[in-house]
């Protein structure tokens, strides 16, 4: 359980980190919290020749809240969300979601940006980003660019971040007035990777859904925002029959692959369950 040999760099400034990435590209891995990368290296499944440790880049560790939403530096630890950053529904929702990310010690070390860059389809933060139209800031020696969530996730463990680039921040827009969130995740044990999870945000007025966001995690090769189901929900009564119909529609859109923790049929059933429960919570 020892990693293969690698060179280790710990730049003090962002520019220095970007220089290293620019010079070495595909042989590099960026070390943030290390909660996925280090085990993969110890199993020798990941064998970077160069490790660039960004933990000294303090400018990536800021969490800013404002009327426009949240701006989350890539190095912000999961634990920063244990308490809501402000009294917005978005912050309250993130503090409910974070409880499902692994275990307490892992949340002290793992980072928001690391989760997004790793792009595990069972990642809670990836689901949040995809569902709530987050925008990612990506830097290189050539400058910064911004990538919306629907172009960020490219597949299993694959994102828009190129080999010479670094994800530096994530912006999540504020939710509309009156929005309420719901999140439901099922895993084998507390803290395990989700077998399925759903994130729903609804604005309900007079019993009718005026605005809907619905995302599904661990049910495809990337987090899914379920646009057709959102369109179906808007204008409908926020009741059990609607949510059951939405759950059935979500089930049809999901394409989970089976493994030893759950076959594909099982995971499809589970999609319906988590969507129904997330919507029910958002409407309650």
């Amino acid at each position: 359980m020892k990693p293969a040999r690698f060179d280790y760099h710990r730049p003090a400034r962002l520019a220095e980190a970007l220089e290293l990435l620019s010079g070495h590209g595909g042989n590099c891995k960026v070390l943030a919290g290390g909660q996925s990368l280090v085990p993969a290296m110890n199993f020798r499944l990941a064998r970077p020749e160069i490790l660039i440790d960004i933990n000294d880049l303090k400018e990536l560790g800021r969490l800013e809240d404002g009327a426009q939403g949240l701006r989350i530096g890539a190095l912000v630890r999961h634990a920063a969300f244990h308490q809501p950053a402000d009294d917005s529904e978005l912050s309250r929702l993130l503090s409910r979601v974070v409880r499902h990310i692994a275990h307490y010690p892992i949340r002290q070390r793992g980072t928001f940006g690391g989760s997004l860059a790793h792009a595990d389809p069972a990642s809670e933060w990836c689901l949040v980003a995809a569902t709530l139209s987050a925008e990612m800031t990506i830097a290189s020696t050539a400058g910064e660019r911004k990538v919306p969530a629907d172009q960020f996730f490219r597949g299993l463990f694959t994102t828009a971040v190129a080999e010479n680039e670094l994800l530096t921040a994530i912006e999540i827009p504020a939710l509309p007035p009156g929005a309420r969130g719901g999140f439901y995740e099922f895993s084998r044990r507390a803290g395990d990777f989700a077998l399925a999870m759903a994130l729903a945000v609804l604005v309900v007025d007079g019993g009718v859904i005026r605005w809907a966001r619905l995302g599904l995690g661990a049910a495809a090769d990337r987090p899914l925002r379920l646009l057709p189901v959102e369109r179906m929900l808007e204008g409908r009564l926020a009741d059990a029959a609607t949510f059951r119909e939405a759950a059935a529609a979500a089930r049809d859109l999901a394409s989970p692959s089976g493994d030893i923790h759950g076959g594909a049929d099982y995971r499809k059933d589970l999609v319906a369950t988590v969507v129904e429960r997330a919507l029910t919570e958002a409407a309650s």
Partner: protein, 771 residues
């Protein structure tokens, strides 16, 4: 006031809790690091092994003078197969050690191991127990036609008649996934070579140090006296650290060959690949029941997947023959037919794990009772009431003699405590809301503390069972107890000190128990099979009693009274009904330094005792309350009750800890843990991301109630209790799930009852996630 029965805090704990324990890896920092190169495939022929230039790498060719590990059962149905220390010409399971690398440190050894290329021509693997038994299945070992390594059979003369007269015949098939004991500390060994004497000291994370020494000396062809085995602090064993593994013999060989210190610290992946597994059983039984629910007879076909080799010393008979002998459990019936086979496959070797077959046989009998009760329209508690053993001593159809126990009384105490009426009302109310809760009961016997007769009956060539204990009071009045048992987390040192303290009238803190060192303890069998309190405890009590007699003789001489007039208490030798006394420490000093005064005692204060009991049965009733989530298939346990009868409790806190830990492992068996191979014999669960021990979040509070039947079968009155939690819990949990899902008629549960499997049963019953 006695020390026995007190919840004394464990003497072992302060060092462990403060990080001052000493485990193998703590002692290995200056030794060269050893890494095993393991087979990447389950079956095949080795065509060649490429070794990097100049690297310190050894293969079977280098070990040509060694013998394979080949334990024997003296039964005509047993096929002995040998396990070479490193694979010779062919591999038979993924993870089998093929070569060994010695590096400067762990990282260097791992780098070198990566460069060793093993060229294997793979063949199709036999993985599943029933596939291995199928007509025309590929043979795993040339010595074992049909892949059967051991087969026990019997049939009582009246069995056919019982089935002919039965009002109902209930047939069920149960399956348990394969488990790993998954001790917190994986295996590991440090072999230190002493250039002055040529001796090797092997410090290893093991449960049976004396047996390991004999086994290694045998396979390496060395004198036992040239080897010392030390078991330091051991981070859990649960049976996985009983057996002689090739790795330990290779370490000793390397230390002698290289004349240097070498250490192998196993990592978790290796532990899943190559340390022993267990369970992986399919039990098919038919029960013949009378109309009133009485069980008339059982006909059983029991198949145990024993993996690629036979574990040393207990052999691959351990699971199939335990199942053969003990399936009847706590039930009183006369007619019994059984065929129990140990089947070899291209998977990791099976060896004992807490419970050994009894989780499965208890599950089998307890599911049978519930299913039969439903068929016959009888309450599940009543059908047990009608069938439990009530008269003692009881002789089972396989000839086991049961000492007094409380099968019925424990169940009825559980029935009272759980509040059956309240539960049924709540269950009905919740069902109307679409929520499904269930209650499951499990009654069982735990055969424990058995000596040589029980092992001899299995026809083992190596017959474990007895323990010798050496009890010595030093001139300052402190006592050293040297035991052959090898506790590794059970708190035995505290409990034995309590026993000795009562015999000698001293404080338990003045008693030091020495274990786990073949240079310092009498030859004994180690700690396994719920035996240490009964057997090492029995021998300790007997030795301490003899030592107490000597102390009384010394004190009587000094106080000029008859020895019968002396009582030992509070650190004093007192003349009964007087105020005359002598400090026991002063008596001890005199025994050593004025020995001429005590010719009947001899010099010093030391005695030994041997104990080799026939065995005893502890018993318990477990009750689980669960809720099944129809939408996810998830099961949560809301209540867990254990009514346990382990005879005299030496330290009730330690007993409670044993029960709680065992229940957690039983819940793991029932719901979470499964070692999974694919059809090609590749291991799919090689880390804790895929092999899922439950955490504190999944384990409920466990309510424990004790009954104390004083057993005449043991000298302390104590019964073994180490395995019961793991034995009883799976059946209680699965019966509770079946009860929760009874509106859908779901009975065909297997272990672990994962969310996927439960949803699958619901889907087949036409139940959508919405209920």
């Amino acid at each position: 006031m006695t020390w026995i029965g007190r919840r004394l805090r464990r003497f072992e704990d302060p060092a462990l809790l403060l990080g001052r324990g000493s485990f193998v890896a703590d002692r290995s920092s200056t030794a060269a690091a050893v890494k095993f190169v393991r087979s990447p495939v389950a079956a095949g022929t080795i065509l060649g092994i490429d070794i990097p230039d100049g690297a310190s790498v050894f293969t079977a060719r280098d070990l040509a003078g060694t013998k394979p590990i080949r334990p024997i059962l003296e039964r005509p149905d047993y096929r002995a197969v040998g396990q070479p220390l490193l694979a010779v010409d062919r591999v038979v399971h993924t993870g089998q050690a093929v070569a060994v690398v010695v590096g400067r440190d762990q990282a260097d050894a791992e780098d070198l191991a990566e460069q060793v290329y093993v060229d294997i021509d793979p063949s199709a693997a036999v993985v599943d127990v029933d596939a291995a038994l199928a007509e025309g299945a590929r043979q795993v070992h040339a010595e074992a036609p049909g892949n059967v390594l051991v087969e026990g059979r019997m049939k009582t003369p009246g069995l056919d008649q019982a089935f002919a007269e039965a009002a109902a015949v209930v047939a069920i098939t149960l399956r348990s996934g394969r488990q790993s004991a998954a001790p917190m500390e994986p295996r590991g060994g440090l072999a230190e070579f002493d250039p002055a004497s040529g001796r090797v000291t092997l410090t290893a994370s093991v449960q049976m140090p004396h047996m390991l020494r004999t086994g290694i000396a045998d396979v390496l062809g060395m004198r036992e006296t040239d080897l010392r085995v030390v078991a330091p602090d051991v981070g859990g064993g649960f049976g996985q650290k009983m057996s002689l593994f090739p790795e330990y013999a290779v370490l000793v060989w390397l230390a002698r060959h290289l004349r240097r210190d070498v250490a192998w610290i196993e990592d978790r992946r290796e532990n899943f690949l190559a340390a022993s597994h267990s369970r992986d059983q399919v039990f098919g039984v038919k029960g013949a029941f009378a109309a009133d629910g009485r069980l008339l007879g059982i006909d059983a076909d029991l198949r145990s997947n024993v993996g690629a080799f036979s574990c040393y010393p207990v052999t691959c008979g351990v699971e199939p023959l335990m199942a053969f002998a003990e399936l009847p459990g706590p039930y009183d019936f006369a007619e019994y037919g059984v065929r129990s086979r140990g089947v070899t496959t291209n998977t990791c070797m099976m060896a004992p794990y807490r419970g050994v077959s009894r989780p499965m046989l208890t599950l089998t009998m307890e599911r049978l009772m519930d299913v039969a009760a439903r068929r016959l329209g009888i309450d599940p508690w009543d059908i047990r009431r009608r069938n439990l053993i009530k008269h003692f001593p009881h002789k089972s159809p396989t000839g086991l003699v049961y000492d007094p126990a409380t099968y019925l009384e424990a169940m009825e105490a559980a029935e009272q405590r759980i509040g059956l009426g309240e539960f049924r009302a709540r269950q009905k109310r919740l069902r109307d809301e679409g929520r499904y809760i269930g209650l499951g009961v499990s009654v069982f016997s735990e055969r424990s503390g058995y000596g040589t007769p029980a092992f001899a009956a299995r026809k083992m060539q190596i017959v474990p069972g007895y323990e010798n204990v050496d009890c010595t009071m030093d001139p300052s009045g402190y006592v050293d107890v040297r035991i052959g048992a090898s506790p590794h987390g059970q708190g035995l040192k505290t409990a034995l000190a309590q026993l000795v303290a009562d015999e000698l009238g001293i404080s338990p803190e003045h008693v030091r128990v020495i274990s786990g060192d073949t240079d310092a303890t009498p030859y004994g069998w180690g700690t396994f099979a719920s035996r240490s309190m009964v057997i090492a405890g029995g021998a300790t009590k007997l030795a301490a009693t003899k030592l107490a007699d000597k102390i009384r003789l010394v004190a009587a001489t000094l106080l000029e009274v008859e020895p019968e007039a002396i009582e030992l208490a509070d650190g004093l030798a007192r003349v009964r009904q007087t105020n005359r006394s002598l400090a026991i420490a002063d008596a001890a000093r005199a025994a050593y330094h004025q020995s001429y005064k005590f010719p009947a005692v001899g010099a010093g204060l030391r005695d030994t005792a041997l104990y080799d009991p026939g065995g005893t049965f502890s018993n318990a009733c477990h009750v689980a309350e669960v809720e099944v989530d129809i939408g996810t298939g998830g099961v949560s346990i809301s209540r867990f009750l254990v009514v346990e009868d382990a005879g005299v409790l030496i330290n009730p806190m330690i007993v409670d800890g044993q029960i709680a830990g065992g229940v957690a492992q039983g819940i793991a068996n029932a719901l979470y843990e499964e070692v999974v191979y694919d059809d090609a014999g590749n291991l799919l669960t090689a880390s804790f991301a895929d092999y899922l021990p439950p955490t504190a979040a999944e384990i409920p509070e466990i309510d424990i109630v004790h009954m104390e039947t004083i057993s005449p079968a043991t000298v302390t009155g104590a019964k073994g209790v180490g395995e019961g939690g793991a034995i009883g819990a799976p059946a209680a949990v699965l019966n509770a799930i079946s009860d929760a899902l009874s509106p859908f008629g779901i009975e065909a549960l297997e272990m672990p009852a994962t969310p996927d499997r439960i949803r699958d049963l619901l889907r087949k019953a036409g139940i959508s996630p919405h209920g």
